[in-house]
């Protein structure tokens, strides 16, 4: 469908699609097998200026917004969401700086992220703090003009590979939710090291690793915004990043639909291509309809956010929730359409189905997205005076 993209948005799609097809597709199965970090592909994306599509021009970006980011993520995701997650996670790490950082912090960190010279990462999760970020135990203690960090973050995408980390740590435990703060940590900071790299079910090309802080001393000017704003920074970051997860899901669904449809036109059983069976057609029809609906929601939400709208949490949660549930169904059905071949590693849909699962978990599980949407509905309707029945 024509989504009336601008010429620049169209170019982002075209260039990313070309890279995805020529550089990602041929190696995705191998990256999945070896769990090798896709540095070669990241370098190509950097050379093609794709790391800065959503960043302002004054920091070396192309001046686009959430929609531009989603377009690039979707095209990469069509071939491999392990690679696409790696790309998208750098944006996730950059958003706290972009949204809440000081001018000095933006000048210092964003240009290198925009050029792709450095990857970024965002770290909230800990062993005892998943859906409930309030359980964070990593601390940041002020010491003169420094902060001293102690604790362990787990499952951090781009961990070990990124140069710039935005992390959430507790600065004042007595203040509860207002006691957390966001900081920028650089690879190489004394007392900052990396722990275990996880072995995963899917998105195996992406690195998921522990961050260890052991009396890690960082200058006080690495604090993002003010002390106590850590959870606000986190929420605002997720508000703009979640449609990106939706875009990963749309790309993945499209990739699975492409393969399933092509396959069903070629596979002959009972003397006919299997696409001539209505049962198969209906599966494909649902896959296509849901994928398009997911795309429309992601684009509409991204445009809404880019219009500088304020009340975005509900929509951004929807733009993560729906497409990722769709991606799980669509990839599962792609395997079904390919039958036994679909279950084999030799065909790409097996990986797609394994990959899809993460989309319902990270950046807030889909249960948490439903919580957000439900809570927003409750607030919204509480403000409305009229009745509907």
């Amino acid at each position: 469908m024509d989504y009336f993209l601008t010429e620049e948005q169209q170019m982002i799609k075209e260039i990313t699609a070309k890279i995805a097809k020529e550089k990602v597709r041929p190696v995705r199965a191998e990256l999945d097998e070896t769990e090798e970090f896709p540095w070669d592909i990241m370098k190509v994306l950097a050379q093609s200026d794709l790391f800065g599509v959503y960043l302002p021009e004054e920091y070396g970006g192309l001046g686009g917004g959430v929609l531009e980011n989603c377009l690039a993520v979707e095209e990469l995701g069509r071939e491999c969401i392990g690679v696409a997650t790696t790309y998208a996670a750098s944006g996730l790490g950059a958003y706290p700086i972009l949204l809440h950082g000081s001018e000095e912090q933006k000048q210092k960190y964003l240009p290198a992220i925009a050029s792709g010279e450095k990857l970024a990462a965002f770290a909230v999760t800990e062993a005892n703090a998943g859906s409930d970020a309030g359980g964070i135990q990593t601390t940041a203690q002020r010491d003169g003009d420094h902060y001293v960090l102690n604790g362990t973050k787990q499952w951090i995408t781009n961990g070990g590979e990124a140069e710039v980390y935005t992390i959430i740590a507790i600065t004042d435990r007595t203040k509860g939710a207002r006691g957390a703060s966001a900081f920028i940590v650089e690879k190489g900071d004394a007392g900052f090291s990396f722990g275990k790299k996880e072995q995963k079910m899917g998105i195996r090309a992406s690195a998921t690793r522990e961050l260890l802080f052991n009396d890690c001393r960082i200058p006080a000017d690495r604090l993002i915004s003010r002390e106590g704003t850590g959870f606000i920074v986190t929420m605002k970051t997720f508000d703009v990043s979640r449609p990106g997860i939706g875009a990963l899901a749309v790309g993945l669904s499209q990739g699975a639909l492409d393969i399933a449809t092509e396959y069903s036109r070629k596979r002959v059983q009972f003397g006919k291509p299997i696409i001539s069976f209505q049962a198969i057609q209906h599966i494909l029809a649902d896959m296509a309809t849901e994928t398009e609906a997911a795309r429309a929601l992601v684009y509409a939400t991204a445009r809404y956010i880019d219009s500088d709208a304020k009340d975005i949490s509900k929509y951004s949660a929807m733009a993560k929730l729906f497409p990722t549930d769709v991606a799980m169904r669509v990839t599962t059905n792609a395997v079904q359409v390919l039958g036994g071949y679909g279950y084999m590693r030799e065909y790409p849909v097996e990986k797609m189905m394994r990959d899809a699962k993460i989309l319902q978990i990270y950046e807030g599980t889909n249960q948490i997205q439903r919580n957000i949407i439900g809570q927003e509905l409750n607030k919204e309707y509480g403000r409305i005076k009229e009745t509907f029945f």
Partner: protein, 263 residues
Amino acid sequence: MHIVVCIKQVPDTKNVRIDPDTCTLVRQGVESIVNPHDWYAVEAALLVRDQYGGKVTVLTMGPPQAEEALRETLALGVDEAVLLSDRAFAGADTWATSLTLARAITKLGPVDLVICGKQAIDGDTAQVGPGLAAHLDQPYTTYARRLELVDGCQLRAERVTDAGYELIQMPLPAVVTVVREIGDPRMPGLKHKMRARKQEIPVLGAADLGLKPEEVGLQGSYTQVVRVFSPPPRCDRKMLNGSVEEQVEQLLNLLKEAKIPGL
């Protein structure tokens, strides 16, 4: 360092048919693409520029639509592009083509290095590169897989042969044609592509190059295509069937029968 790359827009031969009556390509409705070998020439030029500095100009002779091919190369980071387009250029053979390109290069001058793809996939003559060198009166080499500058004024090239490669050194200015081993063409860049969209591409005709109508196009061509045909197969062929192991077995026996030394 000023490097000129000569490219050609060709029909996408993956999708063409041959007219059985005339034995020529049916060009109608076939998409035009940049000659695939020319992407390696563009890549070679960009590699040299990235390493030694300077600028890259891409040049093509063709119909007005060939501008599209030039813009595609600009999206990779090529600095400038020039289109040679004139009705009088139509029907040029490799002599007239290389003469026209050579004149344009002289006009763009001073040019230190001219790079072409090893051949064009529509004509497959591989003559324009060497032809250019003749018209420019410059040294040249073909099938280069690696280029290197020595003392800033000499070009050292590794030239692929059946047996390996030859190391060739020659003074600049010079002409080379390159092969795919030079390196995969880079991906387009967003900033380059945006610039490419607006960049002005000068169009030069025969008069601009100081060429007379009888020196260009069909009139300026010394060769004429008399007939196009598929050559007869060179020798008997045998297709082996069966599993890989069986085929290896059969092949080994055949080689032994043929008394290949060492078997």
